[in-house]
Amino acid sequence: MSIENPNAIGDSAGNPNNDGTITAVSEGELLQLVSFVVGDEEFAVPILSVQEINRMMQITRVPQSPEYVEGVINLRGKIIPVIDLRKRFSMGELKDSSDARIIVVEVANRVIGFTVDRVNEVLRISSDIVDPPPSICSSISTDYIQGVGKLNDRLLIMLNLEKLFADYDMDELEQVTKNAA
C-alpha cells in the first residue's frame, strides 16, 4: 500500500494525462508541452506522453507496411515502429536531416516513435490561449488536431496522438487492397 493518496496526486497534476490527449482543462490551467517542427508547421504534444527524444538512428525498413511507416528501431532491446510524420502529413522530403529527431511516445499502451525535422523547446502555456481546431487547416486532417495554441509570434498545432496513431486500420486496409490489386 503506497503512502501517498493517489487522488491527491491526480488533483495537483490535472493537466495533460499521459495517454497522449489533452483532457478538458479548467480555465487558466498550465499545459506542459514539447514543441517540434515538421515541414512549415510547429506542433506540440503533452510532455507526459513523451518517453524520450532520440537522435536519428538506423531504422530498419519493414517491407509491406504502410508507406509512412519508416521502419522499426531497437529501443534498448524493444522493437518499436517509427512513423515518418512528413509522409504521414503528405509533406515533401526533408532536405537537411541534421537536426532530425525521433520522438518516442506512449499512446494507448503502444510505444511508437515518430520523426520530426527538429525539436524546439519544452514550454508551458495556459489553456486559455488554446483554441479549438479551425475547420480548415493546411495539410493535416483536423481530426488529428486537439487545438491551436496562440503564442505571441506563432501558432502551435497541438496534436491528438491517440487519433493520429489509431486510424491505421483504414490506411492499412487501403494498403492491402492496393497490394492485392
Partner: protein, 764 residues
C-alpha cells in the same frame, strides 16, 4: 470481506494452489468413473481432499461463494466415498460440473472479480444426490465418537471435541500427521551430520510449517506448541554449537515422540494434554545456543522417555503405557490397530499404502520453489539481451582478428570472448530449462474432454496417453492447448464410430485414441491416433473442388496426404450437420494457425476404415533459436535454421519457368523458387540472386532466392506486433550484433504465397 481487503499474497497463494487442485480433481474424477474397486477408495479420498483443501482455504479467506458451493459438492463426494451412493454417470456429471464451477470461481477471483455464486440447480442436484443418505451420513460420522466414549475411562487424555464438519476429516488429518512424522525420521538422520545439516534444517522447517496447519485443525494447544518448537529448532539449528547438537537432536526426537503419541490418541478420538512448560523452556534455551545444566543434559542418557520424565512432560507411572509402545520409528505399526477400531478395514489398507508410498517418494522429490512467471520472463528477456551482446562481442573479436594486429592482448581477448560464448550457451540452456513444463499439464485435461464427448455421442472411447512427461517451453505448452483439444474432439466426434457400427465392421466396440509425445532432436513430436473410420479422400476432394480450393486436374495429382491437408482450410467441413462439438470448420484452422505460430508443422495420414493419425512437430522453444542471416538487396533478413533444408547455388541451366512460376531442378525434385528481392520490394544489387535457401514446412518446400549469405547466428525473437508493422511475411524481428534490427522471415507465410500463386495461375 471484499477482494481489496484481502491479503493479496495469501489470495495469490490460494489461487495458485486451488488451480492445481482443480486440475487434479478433474483428472481424478474422470479416472474415478472407470476405476477398479481397489483404486476407488484412493481416488475418492484424493478428490475429497482436493475439494476439502479448497473449501478450507476459501473459508479462511472469507470467499463464501466458493465455500458454500464446494461444501455442497463435498457432501456429495463424501456419500460416494462412504459407498452410500453408487457411482453413476449422473453423479459424475454433477461432480464434474461442480469442478468446472469452482474453476470458474477461481478464474473470476484471479481476474480480480468476486467469485460468482454456484448455480442453484447444481447445488440442489448435489444435495438431492447426497440427501437420501444425508441423515445416515451424519449418524455415521458421529459413530466413532459414541463408540469411543465407553473406552474413555481406560484411555489417557480428554475426549476430542471437534465441530461436526471436522469429524469427517480426522482420518485424513491423522494420515497427514503420520506422513509428516515419517519424513521427520529422515531429517533427524541428516541433522546429526554436519554436512547435511543445513539441508535438513530447511526440510524440517517446511515440515513444521505444514504440520502446524494440521495441528491447528485439531485445535490442540499441546500439539501446536510441540510443532512450533520443531519450527524453532529448525530455524536455529544451523548455527547450533557443536556440543549442543546431540542434545538438540534428542529433543527433536522427543518432540516427534510426543506428536506420534498424540496422533495415536487422536485416532481413538482422544486428545492428550501434556505439561510442556519445562520441555519448551529447556528446548528454547538450547535454541538460543546456551547449554543446559549438566545434570539435565547427561541424565537422560539419550533416552527419550527419560528426557520427557525429566522435563516433567510425563510422569513416571503414566509413562508405563507409552513405553509399551516400541521406539518411535516403529510407531506406524501400532497405528494400524488404532485405525481399525475407528474406521473401516479398507481405510486401513489405504493408510498403509499412503504411508508407504509417501516415504520412498519423499527421497526422490526434488525441492522446488514457486516463482512468478513474470520473473522468469524477465530473466529470459535478460538472457536474450545478453545473447545479443555476446554476438556483438564475437563480432568485435572477428574484426580484431581481421585487423591482423596480433599481439598478446588480442589473443587474451579472443580467449575471453570464446569463454563468454560457451558460458552464455550454458546459461541460455539453463534458463530455458526453467521454463520447461511437462506436457502432462495439458494431457491430463483430455480424459475429461474425451469422456464428455463419449457421453454426449454415446460412443465408447478409451484415451491412451503416452509420454506425458515430455517437457516443452511454457509458451509452446500454452499454444498447444487449443489445437490438441480440437484434434481430439475431431477424432472422437468424427473419427471414432458409434459402437454398433464398430461391431458390424468387426472392430472392438470401444474405440481407442492414442495421444503420445516424444522428443525428436530439438523438436517435440505429438501424435494423435485414432482407430476410427479414417478420412475419405473423395469426400474431402469433392468438398475442396466445391469450395474452389483446387481443380480436378490438380486434385488427381495430389497425394492422399496433400488432399487431407484441405481440412485445415478455414471454414472447411465435411460434416453434414453442425453439432455442438464440431462441424463448423473452425477448429482445424485454429490448429494450423497455432502450430504455424510455433514454427511447427503438421501432417495427416489416414487409412479409410482403419483410422487417422495426426502428427505435430514443434520446436522445443520459441524464444531463442539459431537462424541463417541472408542479404537481400541492401538489407539483411533472418531465416530460422529449423526450416532450412539446405542452401544451393542454382546454375542458370537448372532454372525453368512453369506457368510463370520459376522452378529449379534439385536432384529428382522440382522446387518452386521465390525471389525474395521482389517479394520484399528490395532494390536490385550487383551479383544478386546467387543462392537458393531451400526451406520446408509441413511437407511443402521452396527455394528462397537471396543475394548473399551472411552467416549463422543465435537470434532472439522479438515480437513485431504493432499494427503498423504487421502484415508482411515476418514472424518477428531480432537485434543484430551491431544493434540494428533484422527482420525474421516467416517461412510458412512465404510458402503459403507460393501455393496461392500456383493455384491462381492454374485457375486462370
Amino acid at each position: 470481506m471484499s477482494l481489496e481487503d484481502m491479503d493479496q499474497s495469501l489470495l495469490q497463494d490460494f489461487l495458485t494452489e486451488a488451480g492445481e487442485l482443480i486440475e487434479q480433481l478433474d483428472s481424478d474424477l474422470v479416472r474415478l468413473e472407470s476405476s477398479s474397486e481397489s483404486e476407488h477408495a484412493d481416488l475418492c479420498n484424493s478428490c475429497f481432499r482436493a475439494l476439502h483443501t479448497i473449501k478450507g482455504a476459501a473459508s479462511f479467506l472469507g470467499l463464501t461463494a466458493v465455500t458454500t458451493f464446494a461444501h455442497a459438492a463435498e457432501d456429495c463426494l463424501n456419500c460416494l466415498r462412504k459407498g452410500e451412493i453408487q457411482m453413476t454417470p449422473d453423479v459424475m456429471d454433477a461432480l464434474l460440473r461442480s469442478a468446472d464451477i469452482v474453476r470458474d470461481q477461481i478464474e473470476a477471483l484471479s481476474n480480480g472479480e468476486d467469485a460468482p455464486e454456484g448455480p442453484q440447480d447444481l447445488i440442489d442436484t448435489l444435495h438431492a444426490l447426497a440427501s437420501g443418505d444425508d441423515t445416515a451420513a451424519t449418524d455415521e460420522s458421529s459413530d466413532p465418537a459414541t463408540i469411543a466414549i465407553p473406552q474413555a475411562d481406560e484411555l489417557p487424555g480428554e475426549t476430542l471435541d471437534l465441530p461436526a464438519q471436522k469429524v469427517d476429516l480426522i482420518e485424513f488429518m491423522i494420515i497427514d500427521l503420520q506422513d509428516y512424522s515419517k519424513q521427520l525420521d529422515e531429517v533427524f538422520d541428516k541433522i546429526g551430520n554436519d554436512g547435511t545439516r543445513h539441508e535438513a534444517a530447511e526440510i524440517l522447517e517446511e515440515i513444521a510449517d505444514n504440520m502446524i496447519k494440521t495441528a491447528d485443525f485439531f485445535e490442540l494447544d499441546a500439539l501446536c506448541d510441540v510443532v512450533k518448537l520443531l519450527g524453532r529448532i529448525a530455524s536455529t539449528i544451523d548455527e547450533c554449537p557443536h556440543d549442543l547438537i546431540d542434545e538438540t537432536v534428542i529433543r527433536l526426537k522427543a518432540a516427534k515422540f510426543l506428536i506420534d503419541d498424540q496422533t495415536e490418541m487422536l485416532g481413538k478420538n482422544r486428545a492428550l494434554n501434556w505439561p510442556l512448560d519445562t520441555f519448551i523452556e529447556r528446548t528454547n534455551t538450547l535454541c538460543d545456543h546456551k547449554p543446559l545444566e549438566d545434570d539435565v543434559m547427561k541424565k537422560h542418557n539419550d533416552d527419550i522417555q527419560q528426557l520427557l520424565i525429566l522435563d516433567k512432560v510425563v510422569t513416571a507411572e503414566a509413562d508405563a503405557t507409552p513405553t509399551e509402545a516400541p521406539a518411535p520409528v516403529e510407531e506406524s505399526e501400532t497405528d494400524q490397530p488404532i485405525t481399525e477400531t475407528k474406521a473401516t478395514p479398507e481405510a486401513t489398507a489405504k493408510t498403509e499404502t499412503k504411508a508407504e508410498a509417501a516415504a520412498p517418494a519423499k527421497k526422490t522429490v526434488e525441492q522446488t520453489i514457486r516463482v512468478e512467471v513474470s520473473r522468469l520472463e524477465s530473466l529470459l528477456n535478460l538472457v536474450g539481451q545478453l545473447v545479443l551482446n555476446k554476438n556483438r562481442v564475437l563480432a568485435l573479436t572477428r574484426t580484431l582478428k581481421d585487423a591482423n594486429t596480433s599481439n598478446e592482448l588480442n589473443e587474451d581477448f579472443v580467449g575471453a570472448a570464446g569463454e563468454l560464448d560457451r558460458l552464455m550457451g550454458e546459461l541460455q540452456v539453463s534458463v530455458m530449462r526453467t521454463r520447461m513444463q511437462p506436457l502432462a499439464k495439458l494431457f491430463d485435461r483430455y480424459p475429461r474432454v474425451i469422456r464428455d464427448i463419449a457421453r454426449m455421442t454415446s460412443k465408447k472411447i478409451n484415451l491412451q496417453i503416452e509420454g506425458k512427461e515430455t517437457e516443452v517451453d511454457k509458451s509452446v505448452l500454452e499454444q498447444l492447448a487449443d489445437p490438441l483439444v480440437h484434434i481430439l474432439r475431431n477424432s472422437a466426434d468424427h473419427g471414432v464410430e458409434a459402437p454398433e457400427d464398430r461391431l458390424t465392421n468387426s472392430k472392438p466396440e470401444v474405440g481407442t485414441i492414442t495421444l503420445s509425445a516424444e522428443h525428436q532432436g530439438s523438436h517435440v513430436r505429438v501424435a494423435i491416433k485414432d482407430d476410427g473410420k479414417g478420412l475419405d479422400r473423395e469426400v474431402i476432394g469433392n468438398k475442396a473442388l466445391e469450395r474452389g480450393l483446387t481443380t480436378p486436374e490438380q486434385l488427381a495429382q495430389l497425394s492422399d496426404n496433400d488432399v487431407f491437408r484441405f481440412i485445415f482450410e478455414a471454414g472447411f467441413s465435411t460434416a453434414e450437420q453442425v453439432s455442438d462439438l464440431s462441424g463448423r470448420g473452425v477448429g482445424m484452422d485454429v490448429v494450423r494457425t497455432n502450430i504455424n505460430k510455433l514454427n511447427g508443422s503438421i501432417n495427416i495420414s489416414s487409412k479409410k476404415g482403419k483410422g487417422t493419425t495426426i502428427e505435430i512437430l514443434i520446436p522445443l522453444t520459441v524464444a531463442i533459436m539459431p537462424a541463417m542471416v541472408v542479404g537481400v538487396g541492401n538489407h539483411t533478413y533472418s531465416i530460422p535454421l529449423q526450416s532450412i533444408l539446405e542452401i544451393v547455388r542454382p546454375g542458370e541451366e537448372d532454372v525453368y519457368s512453369v506457368n510463370g512460376q520459376k522452378v529449379m531442378r534439385l536432384r529428382d525434385t522440382v522446387l518452386p523458387l521465390l525471389n525474395m528481392r521482389n517479394r520484399l520490394n528490395e532494390l536490385p544489387t550487383e551479383n544478386g540472386d546467387r543462392f537458393a535457401v531451400v526451406v520446408a514446412v509441413g511437407g511443402q518446400s521452396a527455394g528462397l532466392v537471396v543475394d548473399s549469405l551472411i552467416g549463422q547466428q543465435e537470434i532472439v525473437i522479438k515480437p513485431l506486433d504493432d499494427a503498423y508493422t504487421q502484415g508482411g511475411p515476418f514472424s518477428g524481428a531480432t537485434i543484430q550484433e551491431d544493434g540494428e534490427v533484422c527482420l525474421i522471415l516467416d517461412v510458412i507465410e512465404l510458402l503459403k504465397h507460393t501455393t496461392n500463386l500456383g493455384q491462381e495461375k492454374a485457375a486462370a
